[in-house]
Structures are given as structure tokens and as C-alpha cells.
Symmetry: C2
Subunit: 438 residues, 2 copies
């Protein structure tokens, strides 16, 4: 099976766990069988490999997610990197060209496209495999997965099949309806559109050439920022008369909001929290190292991270985005392939952060024009270069760097430091990079 | 008026704002007329001085509160320092001896005793003054304030007066009753006992000499730790036949729990918070510098500090103590007369804190046996002495101190530093003090 997972943008609907640089699909919130916690993307990848160990998995995403994906899934994963965001048609066109030109997938092979964040059981991936096999038959140009609705949701588009069989041609599509209309659709046998479909590689590559002028993957990649934003549904699906739908009746959840995410949590509490007996249907996800005490709450989700604290009625949690969009503060933490950082203190004239480097990683040679920095190494071992002078460092070493001074560090073991930045105009943009050769 | 304010212990019923070293009465949570925030003790002191600018105010408290009291009320306030906690009879005896021997209050003058944390209007303090004047008449040995009940509370003891007049003798006392019994007491004209009373200084001094063998204030102070814990109610009030009660019908609240505290807040939100329109009867007190977002909550209090996060139904908030008692973590922040500190990061082998010194303050000359320290000065100016070497410091200076090294710092202007402690056994007890002369 060739599968393309669409890994969307940052999104704030799971704030404070997700922020501008940490997407929900990378938050380790699900308890796997071995007791460790895994992220949405790790869970989905594990499930795909369980169903089809030879599956070729490609993640279509922006470059900001590349290091996190390698960090969570290893180096073998295929990544179709979008140089910028241009909606799903350009993204799927680029991933398809990537599969053909870089991964050597033939024109006749089928490709399955799926969002990266469904919360499903293994039968869902069995269904994806069947979807790909159906597409390979060539009976239709596109084969959609139609999810058997469990309630008249207003959140999803509906697919009206021509017949009640497991596989059928599609009569028509309906946009997200009101609850009453949704009921009527369901009584007519409509299925949810979960954004999952399969096609022969040739079909989408031809569509891409038809709609975008490009020679090959490299060319498409180069001109990606000139492409018009357009969705795959609008550019392709709505114009294609020859579409089949395959029914899926298994469990399926879209983990887009806190309400649905908490339903998928195997334990009500993740992190340091105390709930009294008067609490009912309460979930807590606490990434801080101080406790959360909950008393007498009903149907509430509480989440705390270095970014902030959410306390929400579960139903209301789907409306947080405009409120979170009001928040104007710097990024307070991030986890990257090289390690992580967390802002500890913000003052007018100084910024104190904790930086952890994974072994073998570090920061590139750079300088700042308008701030001095002090590194307080608190654990581990590494090598520091300051203005061309190399020196080993370990816990208790202090390195002071004036503005303009070039510096870099590479961790030998896991290396942790408290970095104190001092200056009147501290900004992430105040950074000049240099070649490592000095 | 001579007034003794009993300032109780730490208490965790307002966690996470109060902790083992920060008592609720010192939290700046009330908006004063000038727009600044004041604490319970500041509010009460200001009100007393408004009603009687010549009032002699003495706070009976433990030594751990002395610096905070001076910090909040200035140096003129009288403080009767209890060397250790011995319940209210020894505390009132000590404060009475302090008034006589140190403040020069005569045996015939009256003294009013009142808790430090009532939330009341100025008419309450007018009533305290009248209480003192009544005690000075000598008609009874004790004059209690009886608060007109507003509902059949189970939280208070009841006073049954002999008559319905403004001032009456007391028939009897009733312990905290059930709601039904409380109703019946109220129908009989009972009054709440708010722990407020007045007496002639001589009366309590004589009782103290009768029950405790001591010569004067200094002697009582010296043997304070040998005294038996006993309440004033039990030792004196319950045995005294000649007691009057004076009615008080004004507004009176006991701010002992989050539920009652939030009723006294002039604004629903203190600190950084966003509430959506679906929230009703929600209070937020946020001492962190990251936002709290509340969605669709009803009758809930949310509070966050460096100690932790409380999310509680308001009714349930009176039951937090046993849950908070379970929390076993180091003190994460404190405000003192010399300044403040906050723990920023805790690692196995290191502790990073932010320390702010007020001008003219600092830390005494000391050393640590089992940890090194690094001071990163981030703002202000001061003077550091390390192993006898004195040097001025300012923002950007870094001082490194090996274990065993003697060090101290004095702030010239407000001085802020990031202190990184490094060692395998970091403990507040690892501290050896030295005379300033070296």
C-alpha cells in the first residue's frame, strides 16, 4: 500500500498543548500497549505497519514539521515537504509527483490519501488497503471512503451513494448540513466524507499536469510558492463524474477538538493532578511540573502547558479558537528533533530559557547583534565554539558571549543549559548564521 | 482604641495563593479606591485608621510573618511575636503583656481582639471602638461582638443573649450546630460568635498570671514554648460568668474559603484570563504570566500560581484542604521584606531560581557545603562579597561560587538575578552563616 498522510498546520483548537510550532498530531497523549505514550502520528504509523508491514508511508507536510516527524517516526519515513502552504490540491499533486519521481512508484499503482489524525482501530487501515486495491482495479478514477454515520453531525460533508452496496458509484456530495438536513441525508443512506480516498498515481499526476504547468517533482517543488491555493475537493472531486465510494462501518473519530480528544484518552488524567470524588467526566492533561487540583467539576477538560491554561466545559471546547487567537505572546516551549526549549522567565531586558540538546545535536554557528548571552550548563557534556575557540563543556561551566560574538554548541551526551539573554531588543530574528568553517 | 489583630498560620484553604510561607492575609487581592491592590491585612489596617487614626494596632503573630507585616504595613505597626504557635489563650496573654510592658498601655484601658481577616465595611470598626468603650465601663469582664445572623450557618458558634437590647448579658454559648438547630437558635434571638471581644487590660493580665507563672512580658516570651496549647474560649470565656454581648448588624464576611473570598472580589478576574460569554459566576485569580482561557464554566473558581492550579466548583472549594495536604513539593515562590524568589526549574542535580532584592536588602554572608552556585545578574546594581573580595555587580555580570565559598550580596537599586544551584544534594538546610566581618 502507498499511503499519503496529510499532516496539517499548527492549529490552536487543542491549545495550550498545540501552539504555532507544535501541532496536535505530535503531542504524546495516547497510552500504547507497552505503557509508553505516543502521539497521533505515531499511533497511526504503528497501526499502518501492523496492517501492512510493507506499506510505503509518505507524509505531506510543511518543512517546519520535518524534524519532529523524523524525531517521532525515524529516518525511514517518506516526507513530501511543501515549501509553503497551498491547500490540498497542490499538496497532493506534490506528494504524488514525489511518489513517482523520488520513490519510484509506477503510474499504475494506487495511492491512498488520508489525514494524519484519525483516531481509529486497525480495521480502518484494513479498509484503506481495500480502498487502494479497489482503486487499482480502475473501475473509477477516485474511490472514496464513506463512513457510516453514527449521528446527524453538522461537522462533516455527506456522500450520497447510488446504491446500498459495500462499493457503489457516487450520486452526489452535500456540504456540511444543519442537523435536520443531516437526519434526512442519513435516512437516504448518506455517508460521512472523512477526506479519505484512493486513486491510480497516473490519474492525479495527469490532473496535476493539466492544471499546473510543470515538468517533474523538482520543478513543481521549485515553483510551489507560485501556485494558487485550492482544495482537492474543489479542483478534482467535484468535477470528476467517475467516482466510487466504499463503506466503512468501524469506529472512527476525528480528534480535532478537546471534546473528541478526551473521549480517546485511555485514562482521565495525564500528568500531575488530584481530583476529588465530586468530579465526574473530567479530563486533565497537565504538562507543568506543579499539581492541578480539581474539585466538584462536571464535564470539564483542564489542560496546562508552558503556553497557558485551558478550563472548558467539554461541549464548549470546540469554540476555543477565536479566544486563543486573541492571545499575543511569544512561543513558550517547543520540542524539536535537536531537543527542546522552554521559556523560564521574561523580563524587560532579559529572557531566560532552558535548552536541552539531544546527543549529537546542537545549534549552528551564529551571532546576535543586539543581545549578550550566558550559558549555564546544568547537565551533560558537549563542545562549544566561541569566536573560533573550541572547548569542551560540562555541568557547572559558564560561557559568556557578548553581542556580535560567534558561537555554537554540540551535545556529546544529552546536554542541558540555562541560557540567559540580555539586551534591550531581544528577538528571535536577531540571528546571523555562519558556515561551520571559521 | 487598642486593638490586637490575631494573624493566623499559613493555612492551605486558599491554595495555590497561600502556601506554607505565604498566608492568605497577605495576598494582594482587593482593589482599593486608588486602583492599587491591597491584602486583607492592609485593608483592615487602613479601615481601622480611617475610623480611629490614633488607634494602637498590634498584630499577634509568629516570627515568620514579621517581615511581611512590616513590608505591607510599615515599621510603625506593633507586633507581638509568638516564638512558636500555642493557640489563642497564650497568644492573647502575650499580646496583652506586650501592650502593658512594651507599649505602656495602662491596666484600666480596654483592648479589643479581632481576627486579621474579616471582610467588612467601616461600620464594623466603629462597632469595635464601641466595644472597647463598653469594656472600659467595667460593667462586665468581657464584651463580645454578636453578629446578627443572615442565614442558619453551620460554620459559627452562637451566642444566646439574655435580652434583645443592643447590649445585653450573655445567657449561654452554643457550639457549631446543624442547620435545623441553627434555625431554632436564630428564632430564639441568637447571634454569631465572630471571635471578637474586648476587655480591660488588667482582666486578661490577671487571668494570665493566674493560669501561667511568669513575671513580665520578657519572661513570658522566654518560656512561651513551654506553655500548653489552649484556646481563649476554653481557658477564659467559657469559665467567665460576667460577660456582655454587643450586637452588630452590618455586613460581615469571613474570607476563609475560596467561595467567600470570590464574593468579596470587586472584579471577577485578577491577572491574565479570557472568559467566553458562556461562563457564569466564574472567578479567576492568575498569578502566572501565561493566560487562562475559561469556556462555558458555571460557579467555578480558577486560580493559578507558581505552586499549582486550582479548578473548583465554588461550593466544593471549602473542602480543598485534605487534597492540598497531599501535595508534597518544595516551596515554589515567596514574597519577603527583602524581596522575592521563584523557582524556575527543578532538575536532578540542579535548581534554577529567580531572586529579586529590594534596594538596600540582600542575603547574609553564608556558604553551602554541597552545592555550587552561579549568579546571573539580569537587572539592577548591587555589591557582592565572595570569600572576602568585594565587587560591584550589575546586569550581565556572572558570579560563580564553588561549594564552601562564602558569599553575600546587597542590592543598591532593585537587583534581579537568575541563580543556578548545582549539586547532588540541594537543600535549603545546606547553609552555613558567617558574621559580616571577615
Amino acid at each position: 500500500m502507498n499511503i499519503v498522510l496529510l499532516s496539517g498546520g499548527s492549529g490552536k483548537r487543542l491549545w495550550p498543548l498545540s501552539n504555532d510550532i507544535r501541532s496536535k498530531q505530535f503531542i504524546k497523549i495516547f497510552k500504547a500497549e507497552n505503557g509508553a505514550y505516543e502521539s497521533m502520528v505515531q499511533r497511526v504509523y504503528r497501526q499502518i505497519k501492523t496492517v501492512d508491514k510493507d506499506a510505503t508511508v509518505t507524509i505531506a507536510t510543511s518543512k517546519t514539521q520535518v524534524s519532529t516527524i523524523h524525531n517521532q517516526l525515524g529516518e525511514d519515513i517518506g516526507i513530501s515537504v511543501e515549501p509553503c502552504r497551498r491547500d490540498t490540491f497542490p499538496a497532493i499533486a506534490l506528494a504524488t509527483a514525489y511518489l513517482h519521481d523520488i520513490q519510484g512508484v509506477s503510474l499504475e499503482e494506487s495511492v491512498v490519501v488520508c489525514p494524519v489524525d484519525p483516531y481509529v482501530e486497525d480495521d480502518y487501515f484494513e479498509a484503506l488497503k481495500a480502498l487502494g486495491e479497489q482503486a487499482a482495479k480502475g473501475e473509477a478514477n477516485l474511490v472514496l471512503m464513506g463512513i457510516e454515520p453514527t449521528y446527524p453531525s453538522e461537522k462533516y460533508g455527506y456522500i450520497i451513494p447510488a446504491a446500498a452496496e459495500q462499493i457503489s458509484t457516487v450520486d452526489t456530495f452535500r456540504e456540511k448540513p444543519g442537523a435536520e438536513t443531516a437526519k434526512s441525508y442519513i435516512s437516504q443512506g448518506a455517508l460521512w466524507n472523512g477526506g479519505v480516498f484512493a486513486y491510480k498515481l497516473k490519474y492525479v499526476l495527469d490532473k496535476a499536469h493539466e492544471l499546473i504547468g510543470f515538468t517533474d517533482y523538482a520543478d513543481l517543488f521549485d515553483k510551489y510558492d507560485t501556485l494558487t491555493k485550492i482544495s482537492f475537493d474543489y479542483a478534482v472531486v467535484e468535477k470528476e463524474p467517475n467516482i466510487q465510494v466504499m463503506r466503512f462501518a468501524g469506529e472512527w473519530k476525528d480528534l480535532g477538538t478537546w471534546n473528541t480528544l478526551t473521549e480517546a484518552m485511555s485514562e482521565p488524567v495525564l500528568g500531575n493532578a488530584i481530583l476529588n470524588d465530586a468530579c465526574a467526566n473530567v479530563n486533565v492533561v497537565n504538562e507543568l511540573n506543579v499539581p492541578i487540583v480539581c474539585m466538584g467539576l462536571h464535564d470539564v477538560v483542564v489542560s496546562a502547558s508552558p503556553e497557558g491554561i485551558l478550563v472548558s466545559d467539554k461541549e464548549q471546547s470546540s469554540y476555543i479558537k477565536p479566544y486563543v487567537d486573541q492571545i499575543d505572546q511569544q512561543i513558550m516551549f517547543a520540542e524539536k528533533s535537536w531537543g527542546s526549549f522552554r521559556v523560564l522567565d521574561v523580563e524587560d531586558g532579559s529572557l531566560t530559557i532552558k535548552v536541552t540538546f539531544n546527543p549529537g545535536h546542537g545549534m549552528n554557528y551564529h551571532s546576535h547583534q543586539r543581545r549578550d548571552e550566558i550559558w549555564n550548563v546544568i547537565s551533560g557534556e558537549g563542545v562549544v565554539i566561541v569566536d573560533g575557540m573550541e572547548q569542551p563543556v560540562r555541568a557547572e561551566d559558564v560561557i559568556t558571549m557578548q553581542a556580535g560574538c560567534r558561537h555554537m554548541v554540540t551535545a556529546v551526551t544529552e546536554l542541558k543549559m540555562i541560557e540567559v539573554q540580555l539586551g534591550k531588543e531581544i528577538s528571535v530574528n536577531d540571528k546571523k548564521k555562519y558556515d561551520r568553517e571559521y
